[in-house]
Symmetry: C2
Subunit: 163 residues, 2 copies
C-alpha cells in the first residue's frame, strides 16, 4: 500500500463525517497567505484559519515567483481578497543548497538546464523583504497596502514579523 | 484590527500550547501534494496529514507550472519525497473567467500585459490529466512512477481519482 493509498483511505473517513459543504468560493476573510511548502507548516492551524476563510498559496521557500503573482492576481481580482500574508520559516530547506551547484547537477543528470532558478536563500528575513517588495510592486494587484511578512519558528510555533 | 492582526493573535494562542518542535525538514511520509489555493481545501485535514509528513504546494487552480516543477524538483532531490498527489476540486474559480478577457483587463488597467498566462480551465478532469503528464514528463524529477491525480468535491469532502 503506497502512501497515496493511505491518503485516499484517510479521505474516505474524512468524507464520511464531512459537514462543511455549501461554502462559497471567495474567501470569507478576504486574505491570501503565501507560504513555504515545508511539511512542518500547517498553515490553517498555525494561523487559526477555518474552511473557506483564506487562499493558501505555497511553493518551495514561499518565495514570490511569477506563479505566485499570477495566483494573487486571480485571488484579488476574481475572488475578492484584499490582504496578503507572506510566511517563511526557520530551518528552511532552501538554505541547504546552492543554486549554481543545483543547476549544474540538474543539467548533468538530465542533459538540459532548467528554465527556472531554484531560488535558494540563506538570509530568511532578507528573502521575506524581497518577497514583500515584489508583491507591493506588482502592477496587476489592486490591493497592496495590507501586505505583511513573517518568519515562523518551526520549533516554537511562533511568528515573528519582518518589517 | 485587520484580518492579518487577527491571524497574528490566533498564532499567539497556537504557539502558547505548541508541542510539535524538533521535527526534521524532510517529509516523513515522502509525499508532495500539489493543490489549488481554494479556501475550502484544507489539505492536511482532507488527506489526514499530520505535521512534518508531506510537502504541500498550492497555486491558483493547482495547475502544474514551472514554479510547481521547481518545487517538486527540490522536494524530491533535496528533501527525499518520492510520491506526488495532484489535487484539483469542484466549483473552481478557474472556471469562472476567460484567459484572453482577463489578460485584456490586466493590460488595460496596468498598461502592460502579464508575463504569465492566467491558466483558466473549464474541464477539471482534463486539466488534471494535463497536469499529470507535465509532472511525469519533467526531466528533473527522479521519481515519476507514483504520480496520481484527484478531484476533490467541495460539497461532499470526497476525492475522485482521475485516470
Amino acid at each position: 500500500m503506497s502512501v497515496t493509498d493511505e491518503l485516499v483511505a484517510a479521505n474516505e473517513s474524512f468524507a464520511a463525517s464531512f459537514t462543511g459543504g455549501g461554502l462559497p468560493g471567495p474567501p470569507s476573510r478576504h486574505v491570501a497567505v503565501v507560504a513555504c511548502m515545508d511539511a512542518r507548516l500547517d498553515v490553517y492551524r498555525v494561523l487559526g484559519l477555518g474552511d473557506g476563510e483564506a487562499h493558501v498559496i505555497r511553493n518551495a521557500g514561499g518565495v514570490v515567483t511569477d506563479d505566485v503573482l499570477r495566483s494573487l492576481t486571480i485571488s484579488q481580482r476574481k475572488l475578492g481578497t484584499t490582504e496578503v500574508v507572506l510566511l517563511h520559516h526557520s530551518k528552511c530547506g532552501m538554505a541547504t543548497f546552492d543554486d549554481d551547484e543545483f543547476v549544474a547537477e540538474l543539467t548533468a543528470d538530465s542533459g538540459q538546464p532548467p528554465e527556472w532558478a531554484p531560488g535558494a536563500f540563506t538570509d530568511t528575513e532578507q528573502d521575506v523583504r524581497e518577497s514583500l517588495a515584489l508583491v507591493r510592486d506588482c502592477p496587476f494587484l489592486p490591493h497592496t497596502d495590507a501586505v505583511r511578512g513573517f518568519v515562523y519558528d518551526v520549533d516554537t510555533g511562533a511568528l515573528a514579523e519582518v518589517a
